[in-house]
């Protein structure tokens, strides 16, 4: 199947040990080095334990002194852990450096339980907003500015980069890069309350030319100008605009995800559902049965026809 909806949710939950870019690669190596070191140390400890319990008397006598404690219990861990720390910091320090001139910047704000995404210009000013998807060009690093609107979240797209906490009032940085176009799943990696496990996201990497086309499309309203749709009227009457913005309309709520181009997203509900008119209608009607505890109420006031009208309109916002 080539439906975009399929790649979107196929990428979530993400694979943790399958790097797809130059920042995730060394981290993956580091993870395996740590596993290997931990395995080797465990083996040494188990052998020593076996010798201490069941070995010949002469060997057991050697294990009885303070010397072994100083060597095996103090010097060895200090040397090994220091070496691993220096190696790990060397691998990851460039991930969190300030953006250089000309580097692409995207601000991702953790919200309970979704992601507000703002694309920034070179001065750090917001150009347009989106949600739950981060679009990037392939083959170049992108600097993410991570913060939080409420509690601590953690941004983690394991195939593209490391994991960094999103802390209220703080701006943490993280670079990521994808070598090939595709959808890369992410997941909030810090428990943030109720539906934390269902706080997913998707990073979509495009060839640079397609990325430029995507930016042009996002920068303009998707709303068909002259004739307001029936679905837009339902959207207004149900009060959806109190929490959601749609560029080109009077709907300008800021509490929930921006819906200006929601029909072009791969997923709904923050990375967790494929996006089509059926899932859209189900989400609007009763998102609480899908993602219990999320901040959007169920709408048991809409008729079937209204639900189809409003979901059709939202899906048309490409």
């Amino acid at each position: 199947m080539t439906r975009p909806a399929a790649d979107g949710t196929a990428a979530w939950p993400p694979a943790a040990l399958d790097p797809a870019g130059p920042f995730a690669g060394p981290l993956n190596t580091l993870a395996w080095v740590l596993f290997a070191m931990a395995g080797a140390v465990l083996l040494v400890v188990l052998v020593a334990l076996g010798v201490a319990l069941f070995g010949p008397r002469r060997w057991r006598a050697r294990f009885g002194g303070a010397r072994l404690v100083w060597i095996g219990g103090f010097a060895f861990p200090v040397v090994v852990l220091s070496a691993l720390l220096i190696y790990g910091l060397g691998l990851t320090s460039h991930l969190t450096q300030e953006p250089g001139p000309g580097e692409m910047r995207v601000r991702v704000t953790g919200e309970m339980w979704w992601w507000r995404v703002a694309y920034l210009d070179a001065q750090g000013r917001e150009v347009f907003q989106d949600a739950n998807e981060v679009h990037i060009p392939t083959g170049r690093p992108v600097v993410l500015e991570l913060d939080s609107a409420d509690v601590i979240h953690s941004f983690w797209v394991p195939r593209l980069s490391g994991k960094v906490d999103m802390i209220p009032g703080r701006r943490n940085l993280l670079r990521l890069q994808a070598d090939a176009p595709g959808a890369y799943g992410g997941q909030c990696a810090e428990y943030c309350g109720g539906p934390h496990a269902l706080m997913g996201l998707v990073v979509v990497a495009h060839e640079p030319a397609q990325y430029a086309a995507w930016v042009r499309k996002q920068s303009a309203p998707a709303v068909a100008a002259p004739q307001p749709a029936v679905g837009a009227e339902v959207f207004g009457r149900a009060g959806c605009g109190a929490c959601h913005s749609v560029a080109g309309t009077t709907f300008n709520g800021l509490a929930g995800p921006d819906l200006s181009h929601v029909g072009s997203r791969r997923t709904l509900g923050a990375g967790i559902l494929p996006n089509n008119q059926g899932t859209m209608a189900g989400w609007i009607s009763d998102s609480q049965s899908i993602k219990p505890g999320n901040r959007m109420p169920a709408y048991p006031v809409l008729t079937g026809q209204e639900l189809r009208d409003v979901s059709a309109w939202l899906e048309s916002l490409k």
């Binding site: 199947m1 439906r3 909806a5 399929a6 949710t9 196929a10 559902l273 494929p274 089509n276 008119q277 059926g278 899932t279 209608a281 189900g282 989400w283 009607s285 009763d286 049965s289 899908i290 993602k291 008729t303 079937g304 026809q305 639900l307 189809r308 979901s311 059709a312």
Partner: protein, 143 residues
């Protein structure tokens, strides 16, 4: 139908034209029992030629049908906007108003509003082949 035959038999119980009414009654009961056996729920589910129920479940998963329906075989989500599909193969109706027959179900899955304009279920992005696979899976839900 079986019930109707029994009633007919009872109705003609004292019919003068048929003095050996007892034998006829036993014959009718036997026929009724046979007919009841034909409608037994343990019959194989309605088949859909060439359809692949396993692929149907995969299509259901990636289309997100469970956003609105509880569907055995899908652990999450278990949406409540639409009816639960547990035991769907044994349900006589689709959407509360159409006979639960394979062709009707396939049409319903692809474009429900064309059949029931007031339904909340939108037309779904399924090919004919995918809809047939989904229908085949739904007909395995006979518990």
């Amino acid at each position: 139908m079986g019930v109707g035959l029994i009633r007919n038999g009872k109705g003609r119980d004292g019919d003068a034209a048929n003095p050996s009414g007892i034998d006829v009654r036993w014959g009718v009961l036997g026929l009724a029992a046979l007919l009841c056996a034909c409608a037994d729920k343990s019959d194989p589910p309605r088949g859909i030629a060439g359809a692949d129920a396993d692929n149907g479940l995969a299509v259901i998963g990636r289309t997100g049908c469970a956003a609105c329906h509880v569907i055995p075989g899908i652990d999450w989500p278990r949406g409540l906007a639409g009816p639960s599909l547990e035991g769907f193969a044994d349900s006589p109706m689709i959407g509360g108003q159409f006979p639960n027959q394979p062709d009707v179900l396939v049409d319903w899955l692809v474009d429900a509003p064309a059949m029931a304009p007031a339904t909340a279920m939108p037309a779904m992005p399924l090919t004919e082949g995918e809809a047939r696979d989904v229908a085949a899976y739904l007909y395995t839900l006979d518990d």
